[in-house]
Amino acid sequence: MRKISIDKLNSLFSAIAENETLYLPVDTKAGAKFEKWHDGAVLSDALNTVRSAKDFFFPQTENLMDFKVDGKNIEIIDTREECEDFVIFGVRACDVKSFEILDRVFLAEPVDSYYKNRREHGVIMSLACTKPHETCFCGTFGIDASSPEGDIVCHMTGDALCMDAKTEKGKALLSRLDSLTEETDGKAVEEQKKVTKERLAKLPLASLSADSFGAGKTEKFFGAPEWKELSQACLGCGTCTFVCPTCQCYDIKDFNTGHGVKRFRCWDSCMYSDFTKMSAGQPRLTQLERFRQRFMHKLVYYPTNNGGLFSCVGCGRCLSKCPIQMNIVKVMKKLGGKEND
């Protein structure tokens, strides 16, 4: 494990940015946001960014290909390019876990080459949480905020940043920074973890359980009468899906530029009425069905297809961003039975 004094963070970032594009959370007037590092950019103190880190691998919009149309003829132009190497600093445990959840979708056969390309070129420097918020419930899904996964796992221990490389990519990057950093035994990190764990145990949502959900529970929950009450105030907007680090539904659309056609992909939301609308009909007629789909997918369908892994990481973004304050915690408490009373 290596460490660097907090007052030398700028030189650390500068050294990383020499070779690779570095992104880190910085404060903006609208909250923390991942931005490209520039000299003097200050790491945000915020617990988490307003938008999740999924944009790095699955951006809100991306061009898939171009077409040239000439009379009856079409030319397909493959616009994919090898992504540049980049480093994301300050990814929290919940968001790091979301990458695994996205991987199981995009890297499953047939592999999504756009996603894979970015994923292969990104190095994740995660940052352990020290002050989890009241809206955090990553522990519900087995995530330890005090000790995230990642290529390089970082911990803030008072006056120093400690860094532990976990993967080949991480080791290569960390060894490049050797001249700036010094070896450390990790005692301070263990101390910090202990404090954070105590804090995590005391969070208001620490006892939230997902045990009653999971693989094969479709029949148990699909017809539950509670969906009506839970969904009644839902506006049908896409806020929860767009701030969610694991929501990955997308739309593919064509855009005629006047000089040709761009086929692009953009985030979509199962909360939108046109998500399943066909010329032949609409299988999800009301907001109840759309609302149910989102939570059934996270708590039942995804686990069914992925060995019990839930597709929620407990980051709490939907808790703070939903315009009507409805969220997965309320859904789990309402439907989860005795475990969550």
């Binding site: 105030a233 739309d251 009507i324 408490k333």
Partner: protein
């Protein structure tokens, strides 16, 4: 702190449920924390007593919910309306969006809501938020108990509250207030003073954060089209995401045009924006211009009023007088 308390509202709603005036109540339901209340329909006194809340985070404007709610069942629905909500209520009635006969509207006074974003920016981990007179006590996870003046924690829309007066109700609880002159166009004026380039940069900076979640549209009481132009594949502007940075601006500008003259300035758009884009400023610019070009007009002040933008008169201002072509206002 709110003048009327939860118990008084539950008592009155319960009376109206019991005497058969109405069969359900549109109100705010308690959440996990003090600040995450959700609009909900209550069908019984028991449900009200269990979960109904009224307090500093009951910002949601229920007017738009009445469109769908009044179509369910024959009985009346009780709705609690803050002064600003009554303007949207009237405007929806003007547009014949719901059956007035199916609603029992109770006006309730409001001292302004609290802005959880402002509160959270002061502390890490908010456990509880309690108002005591002009002071707010915030219990936090890591910073102990913080006390702050209420006026510093109001959302912008309440700082610039246009009216404490209810313009529509079946009955009023508590005291009615007055229409206020709270400088709601101050910010608009500042933006007007910018050079066109500065103004463009300002809006580009703000609107570039848009994630096209549509929350502003979906919450807006003036956005009640059965099929929004942005959801219509034949419109040519239907997009879930902007194909370029220009389109984000187009979405908001088109929306502002669509609600111009009908927007009551309730501020829900800015409240719900997950990216904190000051969308209400676009609407206020229209309101300010309508006021200065056609004379003072407040949408929703009375039922049935016609906005100057849809009411031609021979005295209407000529475009050349309103905008100098190529000038700073263009």
């Amino acid at each position: 702190m709110q003048e009327i308390n939860r118990a008084a509202l539950i008592k009155r709603a319960s009376e109206l449920l019991s005497d058969g005036t109405a069969d359900r109540v549109l109100g705010w339901k308690a959440g996990e924390f003090d600040y995450d209340v959700t609009p909900a329909v209550f069908h019984s006194v028991e449900e009200l007593e269990k979960d109904f809340v009224w307090g500093d985070f009951c910002g949601a404007n229920f007017s738009k919910y009445l469109i769908k709610e009044t179509q369910k069942g024959d009985g009346k629905v009780i709705v609690f309306l803050k002064p600003c909500d009554t303007y949207s209520f009237n405007q929806l009635l003007t547009e014949h969006r719901f059956d007035r006969e199916k609603v029992y509207a109770i006006g309730i006074p409001c001292d302004g809501m609290l802005d959880i974003t402002k509160i959270k920016s002061m502390a890490d981990g908010v456990l509880s938020v309690k108002s005591e007179g002009d002071e707010v006590e915030i219990e936090t996870l890591y910073d102990g108990v913080i006390k702050e003046k209420r006026e510093n924690l109001l959302p912008d829309r309440c700082v610039h509250c246009k009216s404490k007066k209810h313009v529509s109700y079946d009955e009023l609880m508590g005291e009615d207030g007055e229409v206020l002159d709270s400088g709601r166009f101050d910010e608009v004026e500042q933006i007007e003073k910018m050079t066109p380039d500065e103004r463009f940069a300002f809006w580009q900076g703000e609107l570039s954060r848009c994630i096209r979640c549509n929350a502003c549209r979906d919450v807006c009481p003036a956005c009640t089209c059965e099929k929004c132009v942005f959801d219509n594949p034949d419109s040519g502007v239907e997009n879930k995401a902007a194909a370029n940075s220009f389109e984000d601006s187009m979405f908001h500008i088109i929306r502002a045009f669509h609600v111009a003259g009908r927007c009551t300035d309730c501020g829900e758009c800015s409240r719900v924006c997950p990216q904190h884009i000051p969308l209400h400023l676009l609407n206020r610019k229209f309101i300010k211009d309508i006021n200065s070009f056609y004379g003072e007009y407040q949408a929703g002040e009375t039922i049935g009023s016609r906005a100057p933008t849809v009411n031609y008169s021979q005295d209407d201002i000529e475009p050349s007088e309103a905008v100098e072509r190529g000038g700073d206002n263009a």
